[in-house]
């Protein structure tokens, strides 16, 4: 495989939806926009489409670069492109920014047409189910009746799973990577600490900070720092930073002394400068709410009874935020329901972040599975 084999220059597109979307919470969004990108060519019978669902901080720019931003490489460029595991020579690949996002789709930082000011706190609480409905409308718009595959990692994996539950006839294959059928208490707890960091920031202003000309940077920064710790493994951190100091000696103060502190603060600052705090809150709540078994008395097996898709489930050994055990719960439910399913547990040192990294076994598994998917569709 040629790792430099990029799809090249891509451009974002917009789709406007004027039919109101009723959220699971009961809230209604009268109209909205989704920003998306596509790579590769849709075949004549429109059977080769793949939808990529993004995770917490992802967006529509999955692969390639922009003509005016040659260094802005898509977040999954190592996986998506010509000759890559998600092969744009074979598939028509769609990436979108989810509703409630802050990368171009309608979200809390967008101007509400009714008021002329950003939605802020009034943007509806969104769920994975709501996202899938909005994505289904985008699929309708593009004339795609059935996806060859819906693929996602982490929170994106939850959307891929939900696709096969909400629209069993519209998804032939689900690839759920480093994901979980629902969050554990520990995982919700991490999210709540992250949210509290934002909610208690004096610059938060109940979510309507845009009008005050401020951003709850401190809260968002802390939230990202906490998140980042949970995305890495103990081993990966030890390898990368150990107890290494920034200067020769200890200073016995609260400034940055250890390299890990420097790294986390840098990551926190970078993220806080780019991402919207309200979107972060919404995304973490969507994670917490997702539970396909909720409407089935807590019985996950019953929840998956309606699925008709085939599945590939992938986990990473050092991922403790979405551990292999959680992926195996998905597998167990699929086995119970006699779905076709394969499961690969990738030996990787990079924790939850592994799903974004190039790893030979991981990529071989993806390529082998998607080669079979490609052989089912006409060119």
């Amino acid at each position: 495989m040629n790792t430099t084999n990029s799809i090249g220059i891509v451009r974002a597109q917009r789709a406007q939806f004027d039919t109101p979307l009723v959220f699971r919470s009961g809230a209604v969004l009268p109209r909205y926009e989704l920003v998306y990108e596509t790579y590769g060519k849709l075949n004549a019978d429109k059977s080769n489409a793949i939808l990529i669902c993004h995770a917490l901080s992802g967006h529509h720019h999955v692969a390639g670069v922009y003509a005016d931003e040659p260094k802005n490489v898509g977040w999954w460029d190592n996986m998506v492109g010509p000759g890559k595991p998600i092969d744009t020579d074979k598939f028509f690949v769609i990436g979108l920014n989810n509703l409630g996002g802050c990368s171009g789709s309608t979200g809390p930082s967008s101007i509400a047409p009714e008021t002329g000011v950003p939605y802020g706190a009034s943007f509806p609480m969104i769920t994975v189910e709501d996202w899938v409905e909005s994505q289904a409308r985008l699929a309708d718009r593009l004339g795609i009746k059935q996806f060859a595959a819906v693929i996602g990692g982490s929170l994106g994996g939850m959307q891929a799973l939900q696709w096969s539950l909400a629209h069993p006839e519209r998804v032939r294959h689900v690839l759920a990577i480093a994901s979980a059928p629902r969050l554990t208490a520990q995982n919700i707890a991490f999210n709540d600490v992250a949210r509290n960091a934002i909610l208690t920031d004096p610059d938060f202003h109940g979510g309507d900070y845009y009008q005050h000309g401020v951003v709850p940077t401190r809260g968002l920064r802390l939230a990202r720092m906490l998140g980042h710790i949970t995305y890495l493994s103990d081993d990966a951190m030890a390898d990368k930073f150990g107890r290494e100091l920034r200067t020769e000696q200890l200073n016995y103060g609260y400034d940055v002394e250890f390299q890990i502190e420097s790294y986390l603060r840098y990551q926190g600052d970078k993220f806080a400068g780019l991402f919207d705090a309200n979107t972060y809150l919404l995304m973490t709540k969507a994670l917490d709410y997702f539970d396909p078994a909720h409407d089935f008395g807590g019985d996950m097996n019953k929840a998956f009874a309606r699925s008709k898709s085939d599945y590939l489930v992938v986990s990473f050994t050092t991922d403790w935020r979405f551990s292999p055990q959680r992926s195996r719960e998905i597998v167990q439910t699929l086995l119970h329901n006699r779905r076709n399913v394969s499961y690969a547990e990738i030996t990787s040192t990079h924790g939850h972040d592994s799903f974004l990294m190039e790893h030979p076994h991981y990529f071989d598994v993806m390529r082998a599975y998607l080669d079979n998917v490609a052989s089912e569709v006409s060119r």
């Binding site: 495989m1 590939l312 195996r328 597998v331 167990q332 086995l335 119970h336 006699r338 076709n340 399913v341 394969s342 499961y343 690969a344 547990e345 030996t347 030979p360 076994h361 990529f363 071989d364 598994v365 390529r367 082998a368 599975y369 080669d371 079979n372």
Partner: protein, 209 residues
């Protein structure tokens, strides 16, 4: 595994050429559900899918084999057999197969009991250590090395080798009822003096009373 991710290195095996495959397939009715433990590259499952239209899953630990199984179009779950079959529910398969793997399992008793928890029937195939060529090797003062036992004593994964008689005694003691047996040498079935003349044994069994 190398860094070169060219799929060409995974030679997808087309049809099953192992003699025990045909013996196993002969016992499996069309459309049965099958769990293949230690399924390797998935060639048995693929063979059973093509010849018996089974609904099959494999369990395998090896990374390269996982990719091969997926390339072979069979379902595979990456897991260590020795840690049990906790992903699988009671009586969820018609057949649970352990093909040329029994002798390499550490917790053999527990695994056979797990096979019969998950499956209605169990099928195992293993190299017969009582085969005359193996005995001859020992008489000559060496551990047997052959097509069926291709390892040296110091690198073999086979920790629980047995003869036909040993396996049948084991079943008796474990309250496992043997339903059928095929003893092969190459592609030929050995009916006469099987424990001496057969190189590979295949058994079908269920829970005994």
């Amino acid at each position: 595994m190398s860094k070169d991710m060219n799929m060409g290195k995974y030679l997808v095996s087309s049809a099953a050429e192992r003699p025990d495959f045909a013996a196993i397939a002969a016992w499996i009715p069309n459309g049965a559900s099958v769990l293949d433990l230690g399924c390797g590259d998935g060639s048995l499952l693929r063979y059973l899918k093509e010849t018996r239209r089974v609904r099959g899953y494999g369990v395998e630990i090896n990374d390269v084999d996982i990719v091969m199984c997926i390339a072979n179009g069979v379902n595979v779950i990456q897991n260590d057999l020795e840690s049990g079959l906790s992903d699988f529910e009671d009586n969820s398969f018609d057949f649970v197969i352990l093909s040329q793997t029994l002798q390499a399992t550490r917790h053999t008793e527990a695994l056979v009991s797990e096979m019969l928890r998950v499956g209605r029937e169990g099928i195992v195939s293993f190299p017969n250590f009582g085969y005359w060529k193996n005995r001859l090797n020992i008489l000559r003062g060496h551990m047997p090395v052959s097509k069926e036992l291709p390892y040296q004593w110091y690198d073999t994964p086979n920790v629980h080798l047995c003869t036909l008689q040993d396996f049948e005694m084991f079943c008796n003691r474990q309250r496992v009822a043997i339903l059928d047996r095929r003893v092969m040498t190459g592609e030929f079935e050995m009916k006469l003096l099987p424990n001496l003349l057969g190189s590979t044994a295949v058994y079908r069994f269920q829970r005994g009373l």
